[in-house]
Each structure stands twice: as structure tokens, then as C-alpha cells.
């Protein structure tokens, strides 16, 4: 029991929702939902439900519930407008989806309740990796579709003296192909690291109780509590900031695809 309570990696375990004899096998593939899929599904349903509720019976002068939805939408629209200007309009739904999905899954990952701990899908590199590869592929497809062969100018920045240009091109190629890696690893490492730190500090509490006895342990745990609260607050900030960073980097990469060579 104590082992489970203090093991910081236990919360990242992907588990089937159903026992072995009730697995969904389709065409040789096991597509049984896991707790990761469950929390992704809950996040999607939450986003759909929230905006359906927020935008039900919309008014010209928004009331509170409508303002919440409009601030959320306006925030993402502001990112796209700042980075991509008018060209970004067709990509607003995509950026909005990416931002909302990461933000809501990260936020749900910060909560726990009677069901035990919630699961943070973004703490797995498989999830963030697929999202980063999707953005990477989208940038290449849109860049070639819009610019044709001129898309290769993305590797050749303008205004560089010819003598060092070859070196800059090598760096640009390396930097371009490391994009999906950094995009995936940033989100994954931040969520994993934050949750591990949180769990390690929380794990001090049962250890204090074991080491100092019930009364002394509880007294000492009260000293740990302000630290835990501030780390939790920091993690809530990180959960938002990483969604914001992913969205803004997607915008910047799309901007590169639309206007290569700047």
C-alpha cells in the first residue's frame, strides 16, 4: 500500500479498462480502451459540452457563461492573428483544437478524486509524438501545396552572405527535422517531470508519518503542505503554458510553410 502511494511512476501506467476476457479484438488488433483513451475522451466531451453550454442562446452582449467561451476562443484567435495575421484564418479551427485538447487533458491530469488519480495522456511520448508528427507533416504538405519547389527556400534564409550560407543551410535542415522531436519531448518532459516532482514531494507525507509517528508526522506534514500547494499552482501554470507553447509553435511553423525564406 505504501509502495503504491509513494511510487512516483505508478500514475503513468497505461491500463486496460476491461479485464482480459472482455477485450475488443478487431481484425487481430486489440483496440480495448485504456485509461489514457478514457481521459482523452472525457476531455473531448468536456470541450464539446462546455462550448455547447457556453454558446447556447447567444446574446449580443455576452453573459457570464458566454464570456467564458468567448475569452477562450478570443485567446486562441489572438495567437493566430499575432503570428499568422490574415493568412492564419483557415488554420484557426486546427490551432483551437490542438490548444483546447492539450489544455483540457493537462488540466484534468492535475485533479484526483474518489476514482483515484486521473491520467495525463500528454505524459506519454506516444501521444505527444503523434501530435508533433501530425503538425510536422501538415507543415510539409501545406508548404509544398502552397509554394511548390519554393518551399525549399525554408532552408535558405534571405540576407546571409554566401560564404557562410552553406553552414546556415546545414543548421536550418537540422533544425527543421528536429522540430517534431523537440515539440513532442517538450510537452512530454514537462508533464512527466512536473507530475513526478509533485508525487515525490507528496510521498514525503506518508514517509514522515512512518518515520515520526502519527502526531509528529502530521505536524511535519503541515510544513510540507505550503510547498505542495505552491508546486501544484506551478503545475497548473505549466499545464496551461505548455498548451500555449504548442499552439504558438504550430502557428510559427505554419507561418514558415506559408512564407518560406524569411
Amino acid at each position: 500500500m505504501l509502495q503504491v502511494a509513494t511510487d512516483p511512476m505508478h500514475q503513468f501506467k497505461v491500463e486496460w479498462l476491461f479485464p482480459e476476457n472482455a477485450h475488443w479484438i478487431v481484425g487481430g488488433y486489440n483496440i480495448t480502451p485504456t485509461n489514457s483513451a478514457l481521459w482523452m475522451g472525457i476531455a473531448v466531451l468536456f470541450i464539446l459540452g462546455f462550448f455547447a453550454w457556453s454558446m447556447s442562446r447567444p446574446k449580443t452582449v455576452p453573459d457570464r457563461k458566454q464570456s467564458m467561451g468567448e475569452i477562450w476562443y478570443g485567446f486562441v484567435a489572438g495567437i493566430v492573428k499575432d503570428v499568422n495575421h490574415e493568412d492564419g484564418k483557415p488554420f484557426l479551427p486546427l490551432i483551437f483544437t490542438i490548444f483546447s485538447f492539450i489544455f483540457v487533458t493537462n488540466m484534468f491530469g492535475m485533479f484526483s478524486g474518489p476514482w483515484g488519480h486521473t491520467f495525463t495522456p500528454m505524459s506519454h511520448v506516444a501521444v505527444t509524438g503523434v501530435m508533433a508528427l501530425f503538425v510536422f507533416a501538415l507543415v510539409i504538405v501545406i508548404g509544398i501545396f502552397k509554394n511548390g519547389f519554393k518551399f525549399l527556400k525554408i532552408f535558405v534564409p534571405s540576407g546571409i552572405p554566401l560564404i557562410i550560407l552553406w553552414f546556415v543551410v546545414i543548421i536550418e535542415i537540422f533544425s527543421f527535422f528536429s522540430r517534431p522531436l523537440s515539440l513532442a519531448m517538450r510537452l512530454f518532459a514537462n508533464m512527466l517531470g512536473g507530475h513526478v516532482a509533485l508525487k515525490v514531494f507528496a510521498g514525503f507525507v506518508p514517509q514522515l508519518v512512518v518515520g515520526l509517528g502519527l502526531l509528529g508526522g502530521v505536524m511535519a506534514a503541515l510544513l510540507v503542505m505550503p510547498l505542495l500547494i505552491s508546486i501544484t499552482a506551478l503545475e497548473l501554470l505549466v499545464a496551461f503554458l505548455q498548451a500555449y507553447v504548442f499552439a504558438i509553435l504550430t502557428c510559427v511553423y505554419l507561418n514558415d510553410a506559408l512564407h518560406p525564406g524569411h
Partner: protein, 79 residues
């Protein structure tokens, strides 16, 4: 010679120190510029986050090397 990859994993984490210096420089410079000209600060917030993300990526590359050495190197002890 077992366990040397763990020492390498620790050494790879030095990259995070460099990323820390870089991120500190970015936020420090943003703050000093924002105090000088608060009205222009809001427009540069996106640039701030972009610079922060790109700088942080280098520290994360170090973390990737570290994780590879712990879990994926030949003769890795864990995993």
C-alpha cells in the same frame, strides 16, 4: 564497466544548466525591457514564449540523451 552509461546520463543533464541560463536570460531581458516600456510589453509576449520554447528545446535534447542512456543504451541497467 557497467554503470558508466548512468554517469553519462548524469553528464548529459549538464545541458539543462545551459538551458536554465538561456531561459533566465530571455525572461530577465524581457522583464527589464517591459519595465522600461510597459506599453510595448504585451505585443512581445508571443516572441517571449517562442524564444523560451526554442531555448528550452536544447535542454530537453540533453534530457533525451540522458533517458536514452538510462533505458535504451546497450547494457542499460534499468528498463
Amino acid at each position: 564497466m557497467e554503470g558508466l552509461n548512468l554517469i553519462g546520463a548524469g553528464l548529459a543533464c549538464v545541458a539543462m544548466g545551459g538551458a536554465g541560463i538561456g531561459v533566465g536570460t530571455i525572461f530577465g531581458n524581457y522583464l527589464s525591457a517591459a519595465i522600461r516600456n510597459p506599453s510595448a510589453a504585451q505585443q512581445q509576449f508571443g516572441n517571449l514564449i517562442f524564444g523560451f520554447a526554442v531555448t528550452e528545446a536544447l535542454g530537453i535534447f540533453g534530457l533525451v540523451i540522458s533517458l536514452l542512456l538510462i533505458y535504451a543504451a546497450p547494457g542499460a541497467s534499468a528498463g
